[in-house]
Symmetry: C2
């Protein structure tokens, strides 16, 4: 008999009720008395477990089975019946139980609660726990929602290069990539001779695929990247990882308002997709991880995001009378405390802040007519602060060249980026969404290490 998945049973229980079925999975808990035993079984297809009921005088090897340690894999043939006053509507009355793969009593994740810190050292087992099962299913669904959203809009998915010889933002500390024998480096005038390296030059891991996405937007109009990016920042916070995934849409014939429209629609789409397709997981997060989660997410889905300029934001902060650790004045980069105050206290909903001073933003953002601000847009959300950063791009060749020089960057390096402005370089806009920040936001998980399967941070590259 072919095993039925537990998801299938939960979704279409009426098709199986009063029928003999086979299920297979891993034991989550066993409770037993002399006469009865109850096994919570999970097969990985669904967040919830199915309950298996064993009667001692009906099931062979009853005494062995009730001693199976957690995580033992079994196959059960039994009848699906309506449950008597249990949490679930149905359960399986076991006829036969077969051992598929044993576990041991020293299985590290016993029933008692473990701290997230401890579970990080068990990255090979933690997806078997409720919390991480929920996190990583949400992560998978959110990733698919993003693809679906953009594909339905006819955006072309571009794989930006991971290894690159250029530094997209002229900032950011980077990881170097090499095949040179570091114990025996080829030298030239006492300097390492990168001409002998694999690519014939010094290369790094990408910090952003945006510049390459612009290439493709100027061919396909609407494109997006979705891939890993890297920052070698020596910061040990709950929000920074050295390796993370980023989504970077880029749209030609689009200005900063079009950009905000797409970003707003996307955020709502991802949230709705997860609420609809992972009800059980989302309820778990709302009950056990972040009691305000549903309120917060529903608020986002049902709001029209506010849109204000940076200048207005500074005014509002100054007028607020609120004391901040980092004093507010025009020209400063907004800190998380400011961002959260704006979105949580002033507007109580997501806020796009636009038109930042050009000094605090990247060279490629389009300079506004006032000569001092650029067409940047950051999306601030309650509970987190900035979740999306983007801009209209500088499409004017002369202005772009000037901005590159002002930033002390090398014009030569950007030859192809500049050429895009020579051959039909229409206005275009784009933004970046840090995927892990979005997952943290969706789940209420507060440490980025707990939404990445195998997190890479300073001093940690396990598994």
């Amino acid at each position: 008999m072919k095993a039925v998945s537990i998801k299938e049973i939960f979704k279409n229980s009426q098709d199986y009720i009063e029928k003999e079925i086979a299920v297979q999975g891993w034991i989550k808990t066993v409770r037993d008395s002399n006469k009865f035993a109850f096994i919570e079984l999970n097969d990985g297809t669904f967040f919830k477990n199915i309950q298996i009921v064993l009667e001692s005088n009906k099931v062979e090897n009853f005494k062995e089975i009730v001693k199976y340690p957690i995580s033992t894999a079994i196959r059960v043939v039994g009848k699906l019946v309506t449950a008597q006053g249990a949490k679930q509507d149905f359960e399986v009355n076991a006829i036969n139980v077969e051992l598929l793969a044993p576990s041991t009593v020293d299985y590290p994740l016993q029933k008692k609660r473990h701290s997230f810190e401890y579970l990080r050292t068990m990255a090979h087992l933690r997806p078997r726990t409720n919390t991480f099962s929920a996190v990583f299913r949400i992560r998978s669904l959110a990733a698919f929602a993003i693809h679906k959203f953009f594909q339905e809009k006819n955006f072309v998915y571009v794989h930006a290069p991971i290894i690159t010889a250029s530094d997209a933002e002229g900032a950011g500390e980077m990881f170097q990539v090499t095949t040179l024998d570091m114990n025996n480096l080829p030298k030239n005038d006492n300097e390492v001779d990168f001409g002998k390296d694999f690519f014939g030059k010094k290369t790094n891991l990408t910090v952003s695929g945006q510049l390459e996405a612009e290439i493709y937007a100027l061919a396909f109009q609407n494109v997006y990247t979705f891939g890993p990016t890297f920052r070698a920042e020596n910061s040990n916070t709950a929000r920074h990882a050295a390796e993370f995934w980023m989504i970077e849409p880029e749209m030609a014939f689009a200005d900063i308002n079009d950009n905000m429209n797409v970003a707003e629609e996307m955020v709502k789409y991802i949230i709705n997709y997860c609420l609809e397709n992972a009800k059980e997981e989302m309820e778990f997060f709302n009950s056990f991880i972040d009691k305000g989660l549903f309120d917060r997410l529903n608020n986002i889905v049902n709001s029209n995001f506010e849109r204000i300029t940076y200048t207005k934001a500074i005014e509002l902060l100054e007028e607020s009378g609120q004391k901040f650790d980092y004093p507010v004045k025009w020209g400063i980069d907004l800190q998380t405390e400011h961002e959260r105050y704006i979105t949580e206290k002033i507007f109580k909903k997501p806020v796009f802040v636009t038109d930042y001073p050009q000094e605090i933003k990247a060279f490629y953002m389009r300079r506004n007519d006032d000569g001092k601000t650029v067409a940047a847009m950051d999306l601030l959300v309650p509970g987190v602060g900035e979740i999306i950063g983007g801009s209209q791009r500088e499409e004017r060749l002369d202005v772009l060249e000037q901005r590159i020089k002002e930033n002390n960057l090398d014009l030569e390096t950007y030859w192809w980026y500049l050429e895009l402005r020579k051959y039909g370089g229409v206005k275009h806009s784009g933004y970046g969404l840090g995927f892990e920040r979005m997952i943290m936001y969706l789940t209420g998980m507060s440490n980025i290490r707990d939404v990445i399967a195998f997190p890479r941070t300073v001093g940690n590259a396990e598994f």
Copy 2:
């Protein structure tokens, strides 16, 4: 007036015919006489161009417009009308043409044909050509088809780590990742002190996410990875890139036959998805890149893939009387010439070859009862040879330990991989599909550099 996308016009022309519309895009060609001019306009949303007809006495600036160089961006307001005996069913009679962004007469991709080699040096402009526009739209659609296929089957998408301290296959030349200053390396006993590196140890770019996928399969049952992988092989072939994307499904409670079933279904799904969702692009490939393409793809979609053992394959090759450069005998690794002979000459359809000698396969493949073969499966397809490699995994702790030792690998490194076998380590199987190989197969493109937006190969990391 909001511009209508060219895709929308082609898909629903009846909604726009005889109506005034706005379109915007880049000029592909201009043909003109004194009285009329014809502009082929493309906005990136669709493979085909729309034809704009300009009458000299109706359109202002007619004389300027007809001199616009290729890749100039314009906005056209005009009436969509039924075309008179043209290739297309409709065209736009221009009323007004507005310059959005100029191009220049030295635009590098003039109308004449360019070699693919030349276009590789123009990676920032080549997506604007017919061939690369088709390639990269197919690439996007195929990527989405893969996600859709697995998500519909309730597989969980896992992001395997890119930076890793372990070598999944115990083989493969790897790129090293470091933040150490290579001109000033910290030393310890004359050796580089990687304890001072970012992660506190030596790290590399991943060659495969399989081992990590196994972790997740033993929690979620069915999972897949889809991410970049890296090989620092010094090989300058048309089929090897240093950076490429790989799909690695992994399924618990699944043996090698289940594995083959999913692989076969997936390949057919991807092909059908592209044939249905990119008709114009696929017709282009069939007409201009590979005249046998449709025959080949239809053959795959309509075949039941053959399944034979390696031992049988060797017998058939020996019996064939065919002379091979690399002599055939039991124990050899199959070369492309052998693989292609099997799939193209003997079976004339895709063939799974299973149960290879354990000496030529990786340590983690499940040893068969004969003690000399392993439950490996490679999928061979006409025109290419191997496109998928996979296996049932060794789930028996004692056998796996023995295989690791036999391969002179370090047991300690695999502690977590071995633990998976201790705690409910059910049978499981998986495979890897090289994404670029699949794209080459789908399009008939013969060089991997032409299906990667910004290819990385020995000596090349441009853009």
